[in-house]
């Protein structure tokens, strides 16, 4: 443990750390290292868990439903979006389809991790898949980047997942309790809390033209299709936005390769 702490204090010496890890990282050490590496990301998730729990009942999801969602679905953005859809009166298939679309990004993560789970039995892969959140993906990707030895890396993953999971469930519970204590919170403008959270999540993506185009088209189409039944407009708008972004991206790429061809 002490050797582990010492090497961690000198991250510039990654080679040394790798050597050390190959020598003696036990499953137990990996587990706690995984939990520790996830703490900064957990801090960021705390307000989400609490706001989710608080908004559940005003959105029309019972306290039990909110708890069950955090326990069994365990997907922050999708859970938030389901609340928005519930309060807008969306139909059940629309909420489930939207959940699927929003979570498609996890397929991207799992594609990245396949080489690291290939040797593990299915029961491990099932547990790891269930715990594959944005935060745990970020933490374990870093671990795989720093250390080649993956003999016990699945314990690191498990540590990260369980730290994230227990925090998410606890924060949901806390939020539900807060919501029960102050049932008038929606009147204070808490419905806007969801919008402002989403704005804070979207803006960091806006780094290039294709992303701006995707977002503007998705927003405009959401307004244009607002009258569609069952909140289907959301899915239409999202697909239009994604198609626009992808088209812009492919156009830019084509233009770049053409420009490159002229100069070479």
């Amino acid at each position: 443990m002490s050797a582990d702490t010492v090497t961690e204090n000198i991250p510039q010496d990654a080679e040394d750390k790798r050597h050390n890890a190959e020598g003696n990282a036990t499953p137990r050490q990996e587990f706690f290292a995984g939990a520790r590496a996830t703490i900064p990301l957990i801090v960021g998730a705390i307000p989400f868990g609490i706001i989710f729990g608080t908004l559940a009942e005003p959105s029309g999801l019972s306290a039990y439903g909110a708890m069950a969602m955090s326990l069994f679905v365990f997907a922050g953005s999708a859970q938030f979006i389901s609340l928005g859809l519930l309060s807008a009166g969306a139909a059940l298939p629309v909420i489930i389809a939207t959940t699927f679309i929003v979570n498609l990004r996890h397929m991207l993560y799992s594609a990245n991790l396949v080489p690291k789970v290939r040797h593990l039995p299915q029961r491990w892969r099932i547990a790891m898949a269930f715990g594959l959140t944005d935060e745990t993906f970020a933490a374990v990707s870093n671990r795989y980047l720093l250390q080649d030895d993956i003999r016990h890396a699945h314990w690191f993953y498990l540590g990260s997942f369980l730290a994230m999971y227990s925090n998410w469930v606890l924060c949901t519970l806390l939020g539900i309790a807060l919501g029960e204590l102050f049932p008038d919170m929606t009147k204070w403008g808490l419905d806007f809390a969801m919008s402002v959270t989403f704005i804070g999540m979207v803006v960091p993506y806006l780094k290039n033209k294709p992303m701006w185009a995707a977002v503007i088209v998705a927003g405009a189409m959401a307004i244009a299709t607002v009258a569609l039944p069952h909140k289907l407009g959301l899915i239409v708008a999202a697909i239009c936005g994604i198609a626009t972004g992808l088209s812009f991206h492919l156009l830019e790429k084509k233009r770049n390769t053409q420009a490159g061809g002229e100069f070479s």
Partner: protein, 107 residues
């Protein structure tokens, strides 16, 4: 709304996207256009939720300077662009909204 069905459905929709590739764990080649396309998914979906929420907070189009949802939404975008920190954006955006709606009395 049947909450049991809702949670089973959302569980399946979430778990399938996370487990599918782990389950087969063979040689799955992910085409580049698909990865790029997926990267547009979260911002597109979130924006499609936010636009109607701030532009039509009470069900009808309200594109005007006395709409506190719209003003606070614009404020939040500016804070997010400048500070690039989620918690600052949430707190700042909420502060603007509460000030406009309950102190200034807009809406």
């Amino acid at each position: 709304m049947n909450e049991v069905l809702l949670i089973i459905g959302m569980f399946l929709a979430t778990f399938s996207t996370r487990y599918l590739l782990f389950a087969v764990a063979g040689r799955v080649h992910f085409p580049e256009w698909l990865s790029t396309g997926l990267s547009f998914v979260p911002p597109a979906v979130l924006t499609a939720i936010v636009f109607p929420a701030v532009l039509m907070p009470e069900g009808e189009m309200w594109f005007s300077l006395d709409n506190p949802w719209l003003l606070a939404g614009i404020g939040a975008v500016i804070i997010a662009l400048v500070r690039k920190d989620l918690l600052t954006t949430i707190v700042g955006g909420m502060a603007i909204f509460i000030t406009l709606k309950f102190v200034v009395g807009l809406g």
